[in-house]
Amino acid sequence: MNRKLYALLAVLVLASMVLAACGPSTPAETAAPPATAASSSSSAACAPTDPNFNPAAADVGTKVITIAYEQEPDNLTGEYSNMSFAVWIDQIIGGGLGKWNDKNEFIPELATEIPSADNGGVSADGLTITWHLKPCIFWSDGQPITSKDIAFTWKAQMDPGNAPISRSGWDKIASIDTPDDQTAVIHFSALYPPWPTLFTNGPNNGGQLLPAHLLEGKTGLEKDPEIHQPTVSAGPFAIKEWVPGDHLTLVANPNYYEGHPKLDAIQIKFVPDPEAGLAALKAGDVDLMVNLAESDIESVKALEPNGIHLRVDGTPDFEHLFFNLGTTAGVTLPDGTVVGKSDVDGFCPFKDVNVRKAIMLGIDRLSFIKNYLKEDEKAFIATLWPNQTYTNTSLTPYPYDPDQANKLLDAAGYPVGADGIRAGTCDGKPVKFSLGIETTTAQRRVDNVLAIQADLKKIGIEIKPNHIPAGTFFGSYTEGADMPTGKFDMAIYTTGFYPDPDSSSNFDCKDVPNKDNPSGANNYHLCDPKLDAMFEQGLASVDPAARKVAYDAIQQYMYDNVLNIPLYARANVYGYNDRFVFPPSSGFSGWAWDTFNFDVK
């Protein structure tokens, strides 16, 4: 009986093996990424993988990660949002012509190659840029992505009926020719070296391509639901759902030019603060927490026994202390015109480079970086262009040298008084080194100012901290905010000049804010025609090598004249768990530049 039973079972097993071999492939095999439509040059094969793809109805799948997000985006189109949290989503769902990789190199995305003089993409005069789209690429709804989308994106940016957050650069485009579906010839009316920032995604970029087939003919795009929550995508993922205040679900876009990404879906969970995010990471509710601060480094390290890993990436953003160098008199140019007038005079001794240098030498920046930030020495920087190809690597950070600082201040004519505070006269008026440092209420800035206060006290400078909520600190001139109106001695905040190194609007004489120019962005209130000319040189060529020379010179000039004090390079801090495969991040574009390769173990 038993032998008959075994024989029957053996026959059944053999039969099932034969049937399985004849049947469809296993789920594991079907889960492999399909060949991309774009990889075929045959027009017959040029069809979207899923012409009827609707992300709202798509299955979330099994390979899913959850990312904790401290701020909910306001909308999900880069042209209409200034939030980093929105721009990161935009990088996941949007498609640009190029993007910056983990080495901060500009690489093609929807384009076949990056235009250059060598490949004929950049004209000899630099005024014409020619982009070629990859053949046979599609929006997630199956419609082709063509050069018409490029032209439409520009037109939408310049349409007075729309309110994008910036038209900078877009307004330098005179026309766009689209000789065929793959080619866009962009004619600039004036040389515009930061052209790579247009039609590309990223924190300081112009934005992704907009779908002409859905938006053409519309105005008031800033209010359009398709801008707020795009239903089509040119990136590796598309939006399935957005539950306000709670989460965002992104599912794989089957029509992406590279094929199905390694994950089936990415869930973005909105958490109110880093503490909630870290607790969720520890509990296993989320796989990745982004946008942590340097002050969270120790907290993440402490979670290592729980299988949580820390990643700290240097960025081109920097925290800096700067002087109010404004003058009510402005600067008289050789032709007699007066430029760069500020409403308020800065602290008079700041006009002396030796006073500025003394303050630089009097602050122990390296100790602060190690003790408070728990960062390593790579955050100790000499220039405002750290961690990028434009960094002037010949410069070394000024050391901490309080003795030299005291000597410089003594020599400048400001001896220490009986109360331990330096005083003297400047331009015939009595001055006392009792100065305010204005910044936001963020804890790291409270720590910054306390450390600086202790250091500068040793060289006879009294610091009075003034912490203001960011919404007021960064307020506008018309609201009477201290930065643009010049009502401060010194200030601290973070910014970064990338992916293009141009930052002339932060330093130009014409951008000093005053009643005639309330929206000027020169918070340093510095007007130096020599520096203006150097920045003009940086914009005089589209050749990166020539520009490097110009920006090296700018950094050297700022360094020699101590026009500001770079405190430290900011870091991107991430916490992620064991199961998540986290590809290298980009300094220029952050963590979201390569979500196609996000994976789980």
Binding site: G471, S476, S505, S519, N523
Partner: protein, 320 residues
């Protein structure tokens, strides 16, 4: 009574006007929406001017900006958010149900537990039970809610999971609010925290109220008539003792609409409190004013309802 109600409604409109005006000015001067763009690279002065114009911020704050908002609000249009460009009414509609679920559930538990604790503490005055309830009430009352909330997450969500025990969610996972079981699991910790904090005050209030009533002549008379303790307590004393309690609850109900900022924040609950805070930080006054208009309208309305309810509960009160 109708004349009274109409008079109160007219007064309410004036109060709402003052509230919105003050809120508008406070929001306006506490945070500048343009601050978001202060360090945006590549943005020119012309870009900033264009943005200010498109948001209407180039108009005089008062009266232009305020009356433009008020005019739309009177037509039922709370305007668009400065940043999301979404209708504020829609944003409120998306968040309000979740707030009502959280706060409503918490309120039911708060009332029920307060009634029991207040009653037991009053009946067993100065006993060990009373002292225990009193002590726990003070602990709950003096504890910051964020501390309880973070502690609960650490113990019941994080450590329980690590220890392999049944655990509760941190709130930061992705879940489906339409699933009643998932909803119940996610409600446990935030509701517990709200109940722990608010029950303390309510139960102390109720204890005092019951003790006061138990000392009155009519209760003594009831006891002298030979009524049982249960009858005296529930039929005679409690009905009068809970009257001021009902008033407090009535005045608290409108605040349920505003959500619980700290609890919602710690537990990542997508409610009105977080909506208000996130947009207030950015100076998005259409959203801030929309939320406050809803809350303050409810407060004013419920105040009138409570006043009217008095005349029903206590016939000696005449509103005319």
């Amino acid at each position: 009574m109708w004349a009274y109600i109409v008079r109160r409604l007219v007064q309410a409109l004036f109060i709402l006007f003052i509230i919105t005006l003050l809120t508008f000015l406070l929001t306006h001067y506490s945070s500048d929406p343009m601050a978001q763009y202060a360090t945006k690279q590549g943005m020119t002065a012309a870009d900033r001017e264009a943005l200010r114009h498109s948001l209407g911020l180039d108009q005089p704050v008062f009266p232009n900006q305020y009356f433009k908002w008020l005019g739309l609000a009177l037509q039922g249009n709370l305007g668009l958010s400065f940043f999301s460009k979404q209708p504020v009414l829609l944003m409120i509609q998306q968040r309000l149900p979740m707030t009502l679920i959280l706060m409503g559930t918490a309120e039911v538990f708060i009332i029920g537990i307060s009634l029991v604790l207040g009653l037991v503490a009053a009946v067993k005055q100065y006993s060990f039970t009373d002292n225990l309830i009193t002590s726990l009430s003070f602990v709950g009352y003096s504890m910051p809610i964020f501390f309880i909330a973070l502690g609960c997450i650490e113990i019941f969500a994080v450590e329980f999971k690590l220890w392999g025990l049944p655990y509760l969610p941190t709130g930061a996972d992705i879940w489906n609010p339409k699933d009643p079981i998932q909803m119940a699991r996610h409600l446990v910790l935030p509701v517990f925290c709200l109940v722990a904090i608010q029950t303390a005050g309510y139960s102390r209030f109720l204890r005092s109220s019951i003790l006061e009533v138990l000392g009155l002549d009519y209760v003594r008379t009831a006891r002298a008539k030979g009524l049982s303790n249960r009858s005296v307590l529930f039929k005679h004393a409690l009905r009068n003792a809970v009257l001021p309690f009902v008033t407090i609850i009535g005045l608290d109900i409108p605040f349920l609409l505003g959500g619980a900022l700290v609890t919602e924040s710690v537990f990542s609950w997508p409610g009105m409190g977080r909506l208000f805070w996130e947009y207030a930080e950015r100076g998005d006054y259409p959203v801030v004013l929309g939320v406050l208009l809803l809350t303050s309208s409810a407060v004013v309305l419920f105040t009138i309802i409570v006043d009217v309810a008095y005349t029903v509960v206590d016939p000696r009160i005449r509103l005319d």
